[in-house]
């Protein structure tokens, strides 16, 4: 068991357990913070997979952006007055059964499939390559996404403002 | 110069202006008006640039190489549409001596009409946005060389006109607008039918040797491009070319407007605001005759040669009938509207001659009628703005009250009568000389000369009823022209006089194209011939 494996298990554990905490915690604030841990874990996995740039983006966008947004959402939609914020749970039993079955199935798929695995070694940093791709092959998508973000920005503002 | 897409610029500039106007706040009237004025002013400048760089020696009509300021690229291409094969539509602009004068006319008239729109009071933003859209439609019709594109511009122009009459018009505006709209739409349907028929009958050979159906007007003028079994192909023994010609002709004749399809015109004119009347008479009517010259004539030369007598006959009816109807009118604007009917008859008569003098006269008459009628409608608008009535018998003796105005009126009226030294004379003379040259329509021409007599009758009578005699004390407060009205009338007056004294300004512009057209019509019936009629 080398250090690489060790680190993988560490991050995998962080990811899975914190994700479990997200869905199981009754306090929505806890859930949110656990989600942050999940994102960290996933970012670690990205690093292990040689996607350093994505790991950074994951941290910046998810942790710095989306999570903060979600927290705002929590704050604005719950009357925060010192009390811990609990949320209700429904469908617990059917959901558990379904998810159990579902998880079993996909895990079985993953494990049992005979993956043709050829390992690509990425350079130390992928930023240069990704940047070039973005500006060449993916330029259209890139720009469309820019427009999309703009629209989302305007749309979100206008939806939220609406009476 | 060829690198600058001048035609696209002059065509779509108003659209840009329209978008800008749409972004402006509603109550910012001054800016909206000045913007429109600037846009149309730039159009006039562009028109002058085009005129300046126009090569008088190139003929156009059927040969792409001799068109000028050509812009052509693939616009729509849909490959393998079931049995149709590849649909290929070009964005194809270009001008020759037939369209160039009309482009100048459109630019000038639109500019003048913008000034005439200054006293629009309600929903200014909408008005000027539609106005500019109309402008694009009109320009587009004159520059498009692809039938599909032509049709699109044709329709673009229709809609704003409907609203401009229907919203900003007079008391019976709804009736007039809907009548105009339905009439013109009916014409459009005929045009559309014929267009599709032509499309499915002719192919164009692409660079790689493959053949596709084409909307390209110039390709449609070439008899070799028609397929053997096309419904409108001259090679097809049971073709429907006569019917297609008639469909197109009716479609365009409604716009001219030709008797008996003319009744939308007096209503539309009477109800439309001044500026729109100016555009309607100054530019829109020309589209009918332009369409016949651009599409009917070169695409159906053999049928054209067979039907000239009828075209001349209807021209004569227009002349006489319009003049007699004008004589009986009591409403100033309606009188001018009927005089338009009469004057457009000259255009048809000239076109029917199929020789250079007649066709030159016809094209020149389109230009001259545009400027002169614009003047006349502005004149009606001026008096209506002040007196709020247009009844010919309500006035009298205005010559003393408004001497300068009367001066302009006199010039415009005499230009309309065809007084030498003013532009109307030259075109009418050319029309008559050309038409008289053709033996089959000689009698029609002689009868048509009565039109100039009747024209003098109703115009002078009008002049007398409104301006001469004792001043009706009711109108003793009427003001003479304002600076804006000077700005509208003076340019038109200058054009009218300049073309009357030195018509070569325009004739040189159109001469080689008209010759090309005449030669084409002379020779191509052979290639289109051998057809059961």
């Amino acid at each position: 068991m080398n250090i690489y494996d060790l680190i993988f298990y560490l991050f995998a554990a962080i990811t899975v357990f914190s994700a479990f905490a997200v869905v199981s915690s009754k306090n929505i604030i806890y859930s949110a913070y656990s989600l942050m841990l999940t994102f960290f874990g996933v970012a670690g996995l990205y690093v292990l997979l040689g996607a350093d740039f994505l790991a950074i983006v994951q941290l910046i966008v998810y942790v710095g952006g989306i999570l903060i947004l979600i927290l705002f959402g929590v704050m604005l939609t719950n009357k925060v007055n010192g009390m811990p914020i609990h949320t209700e749970v429904t469908n617990l039993i059917p959901a558990s059964i379904t998810i159990g079955l579902f998880a079993g199935i996909i895990l079985a798929f993953f494990v049992n499939t005979n993956w043709k695995s050829t390992q690509t070694e990425f350079p130390n940093t992928t930023i240069v390559a990704l940047g070039k791709l973005l500006m060449n092959e993916y330029i259209l998508i890139f720009e469309l996404l820019g427009v999309l973000l703009l629209i989302a920005l305007i749309g979100a503002a206008s939806i939220a403002r609406k009476k | 110069m060829q690198q600058v897409p001048l035609l696209s610029l002059i065509t779509f500039l108003p659209i840009i202006g329209m978008i800008l106007i749409l972004f402006l706040p509603k109550n910012n009237e001054k800016v909206i008006k000045s913007l429109t004025l600037a846009v149309t002013g730039i159009q006039v400048l562009l028109g002058i640039v085009i005129w300046r760089f126009y090569d008088y020696s190139l003929g156009g009509i059927y040969n792409q190489a001799s068109f000028q300021f050509v812009e052509k690229f693939r616009w729509i291409e849909i490959s393998s549409v079931s049995w149709l094969g590849t649909i290929k539509i070009d964005y194809f602009l270009g001008i020759d001596g037939i369209s160039a004068p009309l482009i100048l006319l459109t630019a000038v008239i639109t500019f003048i009409a913008t000034l005439a729109s200054w006293n629009i009071k309600t929903s200014i933003k909408g008005y000027f946005a539609l106005f500019l859209l109309l402008d694009t439609g009109m320009m587009g019709v004159f520059v498009a060389l692809d039938f599909f594109l032509f049709y699109i511009f044709w329709e673009i122009m229709l809609l704003p006109m409907y609203f401009l009459i229907g919203i900003w018009g007079g008391p019976r505006k709804e009736y007039a607008a809907i009548k105009f709209f339905i009439y013109t739409l009916l014409g459009s349907v005929f045009i559309l039918l014929a267009m599709i028929g032509l499309y499915l009958s002719a192919t164009e050979t692409l660079a790689d040797g493959s053949k596709v159906f084409t909307f390209n007007m110039l390709q449609l003028m070439n008899a070799e491009n028609y397929t053997a079994d096309g419904i409108l192909s001259p090679l097809n023994p049971s073709n429907l070319r006569l019917w297609a010609f008639l469909a197109l002709f009716v479609g365009f004749a409604i716009k001219i407007p030709m008797f008996p399809f003319h009744t939308w015109l007096p209503d539309a004119h009477v109800e439309a605001p001044t500026a729109i009347s100016v555009i309607l008479a100054g530019v829109l009517l020309k589209m009918g005759t332009y369409g016949i010259l651009r599409i009917n004539y070169p695409m159906f030369p053999e049928i054209t040669n067979q039907l000239v007598w009828w075209i001349a006959l209807f021209g004569m009816i227009n002349i006489i009938y319009g003049a007699l109807c004008a004589l009986a009118q009591k409403d100033f604007k309606k009188l001018i509207a009927y005089s338009s009917v009469s004057h457009m008859g000259f255009v048809m008569l000239g076109m029917a001659s199929l020789n250079t003098a007649g066709v030159s006269g016809a094209v020149l008459q389109m230009f001259n009628h545009g400027t002169i009628t614009a003047m006349l409608f502005i004149i009606v608008g001026i008096i209506y703005d002040r007196a709020h009535t247009r009844g010919l018998d309500d006035f009298g003796g205005l010559a003393n009250q408004m001497p300068v105005y009367t001066g302009f009126v006199t010039i415009a009226f005499f230009a309309a009568i065809g007084l030498p030294g003013l532009s109307g004379f030259i075109s009418e003379t050319f029309v008559f000389l050309g038409a008289f040259h053709v033996e089959s329509i000689r009698l029609i021409t002689v009868i048509s000369t009565l039109g100039i007599l009747l024209g003098a009758g109703y115009m002078l009578w009008t002049l007398q009823r409104i301006f001469l005699g004792q001043l009706n004390p009711k109108w003793s407060a009427l003001e003479d022209l304002t600076a804006r009205e000077y700005a509208m009338l003076i340019p038109l007056t200058i054009i009218v006089i300049a073309l009357g004294v030195y018509p070569s300004l325009m004739l040189d512009l159109m001469n080689s194209s008209v010759n090309t057209m005449v030669n084409f019509l002379l020779k191509s019936p052979e290639t289109f011939s051998g057809l059961p009629f």
């Binding site: 997200v22 959402g73 990704l130 | -």
Partner: protein, 103 residues
Amino acid sequence: MMTIGLQHFLIVSGLLFSLGIFGIMTRKNAVMVLMGIELILNSANINFIAFAKYGNFGYHGQMIALFVIILAAAEAAIALAIVLNIYKNFSTVNVDEVNKLKE
């Protein structure tokens, strides 16, 4: 135990996906539902990047993941705006109470 390979990452991603769906199914709070969705998106991203490394897809996998992140950001913004709006209209963010969809 074999060395860490594709399957390991896939298993993590599968677990994350299941948990995300579980979250969506069980929680009433709309914000929680949103968090579930984020989990699912993350799991998908892990898949993309894992296949980028082991599936010989080069940088394209990472590219897609990048776009997914961007979309996620946009989606989160819109979704939260909608949640706020729902909250204003219904004074609750519990999705089962917002059942106007039925009518």
